[in-house]
């Protein structure tokens, strides 16, 4: 039950715009994220076009830096965070724990309406003087701290910082709301160990988010003061600009990197964990058996969350840190493979001797499992400081993190959309188009990011405007055309998704409350669920979330978690 009650909306504005209903807010986030994804994806296409045909000079070098920066910023914070964490989190948490709404619906609405101006600032920054921010999505000083450094360091960088500040405020409000809702608003009988793994991952992800974003806020405040207040938190002695020595002295740019990555690394897990949670739930549903090792998965999630907060230094091996410190970060990072292997094994073992139903969401879920393995494997080379010193800032890194926070998250977002679409709109999406969309997205994306690993091994460096002028980067350039064509394919394939998504919203096949014969409690309410989620009393939870019986006859092999009175 929501802590603050709110009555059913009466007007269009209350229902669809300034809504306090978690389902509407969740969809608002998802639609916002889908729009931003088109922008971010468009930027990726432009980046690939430029570095494949550098002689055509499609954009200027300064604008190219803006493209790279804004692609990363938009994709991490305004697409994946918004869709997977804010979007699905809002939509699913109350439904999957048997609550009427989030604990604080008004706070929830404020959280969404804080992100809207942030998105607008990001979009506007492309057309201000000097263009959008160009210091990378990591915004390292001194490039980000000196307004006169490059064109994008001017107003564009200021808008970037403001947008990030709004994002952090919004995300923190959301995280607080998630934690309170999960701890306080569960239906009767929904003990913590009966929560679906999706909810566990949102719980861990929220804790990581609220604890790791504040130090970045501290860094952003200091960066703003360095930019506009004349302070020298991050700006060192002897910076020469336009043949003049700047007045700043004594600051340390490395400090910013530490504060940034203290957020930046846990942020990866903030994004990836919900993807894994969704995958667990879908695997159980379409493999028709309980997930293997539910408890060990929960414990593994907690361990992953803890470890993710003490390994940020592995992004900074080449900063000249003490080798013993580097060794610590290496060992701690490699330790994450242990709980992660537990999660991966449990995902795979859940399929053992099961009767898999290859419905569209299952394609995406199985794809996610495969990429978790493939992407994680590349991570080993980057976790080890010795090999990372070679791979640092190469396309190996680009390929690796795209597989993890790009492909894993995007696949699980699509998995979630195809799976919960009936709960959102009371209809299903077209299966043939869904499978076509899957193959045309999955194969190109995984292949192109895998090829980027090879480019990185050959020494191709990231963020370069024109690789062709360096002799040592020529071998890596050979794969560029193939990667670019795969990028175009994957980007164009999203047209199939948008067509299917919007057409199915209005004319897809209508389905009942539980089209997948799933067991989690959100499937016991009508599709789409109305105000307050359950028309009558709230369900009472009497069993664990994955009560499938592989031995029973089809259509009789599941027992929903909730009993609706």
């Amino acid at each position: 039950m929501a802590v603050e009650e709110h009555s059913a909306p009466t007007s269009f504005v209350q229902k669809y715009i300034f809504s306090q209903d978690h389902k509407v807010i969740g969809l608002q986030y998802i639609f916002t994220a889908l729009f931003m994804a088109i922008v971010g994806g468009g930027l990726a296409v432009m980046i690939r076009t430029q570095i494949t045909w550098p002689e055509k000079a499609m954009v200027t070098p300064e604008a190219y830096l803006s493209l790279v920066t804004m692609h990363g910023t938009i994709m991490v914070f305004f697409v994946v965070s918004l869709a997977l964490v804010s979007g699905f989190g809002n939509f699913l948490i109350p439904l999957m724990i048997g609550a009427r709404d989030m604990a604080y619906p008004l706070l929830n609405m404020l959280s969404y309406w804080t992100i809207v101006p942030a998105c607008l600032l990001v979009l506007v920054s492309f057309v201000v003087e000097g263009g959008a921010a160009a210091a990378g999505w990591t915004a390292y000083p001194p490039l980000s701290a000196l307004p006169e450094a490059v064109p994008g360091s001017g107003l564009g960088q200021t808008l970037w910082l403001l947008a990030m500040a709004l994002f952090i405020v919004s995300f923190t409000m959301g995280g607080l709301n998630y934690i309170v809702t999960i701890l306080n608003c569960r239906a009767k009988g929904m003990s913590l160990m009966r929560m679906p793994l999706t909810i566990w991952t949102y719980f861990m992800s929220s804790i990581l988010g609220v604890l790791s974003f504040p130090p970045l806020t501290a860094a952003a405040i200091m960066l703003l003061l360095d930019r506009h207040g004349g302070t020298s938190f991050f700006l060192p002695d002897g910076l020469v600009f336009n043949n003049e020595v700047l007045a700043h002295e004594g600051g340390t740019p490395l400090l910013f990197q530490h504060l940034f990555w203290f957020l930046g690394h846990p942020e990866v897990y903030v994004l990836v964990l919900p993807g894994i949670g969704i995958t667990f739930d879908l695997i159980a549903t379409f493999a028709r058996r309980p997930v293997f090792g539910y408890k060990t998965s929960v414990y593994a999630l907690v361990v992953v969350g803890f470890l993710s907060m003490i390994v940020w230094g592995h992004h900074m091996y080449v900063t000249g840190m003490n080798p013993y410190v580097g060794e610590y970060f290496s060992v701690a990072t490699v330790l994450i493979t242990a709980p992660f292997a537990v999660l991966g094994m449990n995902l795979v073992a859940s399929l053992w001797r099961s009767r898999i139903r290859m419905e569209v969401p299952m394609y995406w879920a199985l794809g996610t499992v495969a990429v978790i393995g493939l992407g994680g494997f590349g991570g080993l080379f980057l976790a080890t400081s010795i090999s990372d010193i070679y791979f640092h800032d190469s396309f190996f890194v680009v390929g690796h993190f795209h597989l993890m926070i790009g492909v894993v998250t995007v696949l699980s977002i699509f998995a979630g959309l195809y799976h919960w679409f009936p709960k959102m709109f009371g209809r299903v999406m077209n299966a043939r188009l869904g499978k076509l969309h899957f193959w045309l997205t999955y194969v190109p994306m995984v292949t192109l990011f895998f090829l980027m690993h090879l480019q990185g091994m050959s020494g191709l460096l990231r963020r370069y405007y024109d690789h062709s002028i360096y002799e040592f980067q020529k071998p890596g350039q050979e794969l560029a055309l193939a990667i670019t064509l795969l990028t175009y394919t994957a980007f164009a394939a999203q047209g199939i998704f948008f067509w299917n998504f919007f057409r199915s919203m209005f004319s897809g096949e209508k389905v009942g409350e539980n089209p997948w014969n799933a067991t989690t409690v959100e499937w016991t309410t009508p599709s789409p669920a109305g105000h307050g989620n359950w028309p009558g009393a709230l369900p009472v939870i009497d069993r664990h979330p994955y009560d499938y019986d592989p031995a029973a006859a089809e259509d009789k092999d599941y027992n929903p978690q909730g009993v609706v009175a």
């Binding site: 995280g175 306080n184 504040p214 501290a218 004349g230 020298s232 938190f233 004594g250 203290f262 499938y548």
Partner: protein, 174 residues
Amino acid sequence: MTSSAVELPAHGADLRPRAGDIMCIVLLGVVAMLFAGFTAAYFIRRPSPDWVPIAIPSWSWLGTAALVVSSALLEGARRRQNRSLLGASILLGFVFLGSQVLSWNELSAAGVYLPSTPHGSFYFMLTAVHGVHLLCGLLALIYTAVRRAEIRWVAGYWHFMGLIWLYTLLLLAN
């Protein structure tokens, strides 16, 4: 597997921690992490040769006393549900903010501005960040007084802001 429906757990929904308690604790965790970030920055920045220490302005000590008394009064207000103690506590909160502004004047009169020395930069920045959080607490206190809402959580926040201030002062003075 079909027989896995077991007895409901003994603990009912009513024994769960109150939503406000969870909210309050997690929010305090967020603020604590913010100041932890600043603390890390402080210790990394301090060994630099351009670090010229500044004297803590005397107005700050007056403000500190006001804040401590304010917390004590608020605790009394919470325990006895006494509204006039709450009013006094709010007043002392404003005294604290006023004395912080005067401490800034004191520093700038002595020629210490935001960019002058890193120690001064930290003083201005940390007092400002703490001041903003304290101001939010003051607004919450005023809301509590006007709407006669429960004092429990806002008191928790206020005490914590007092602790954060003592911590910040200790950090800056050392």
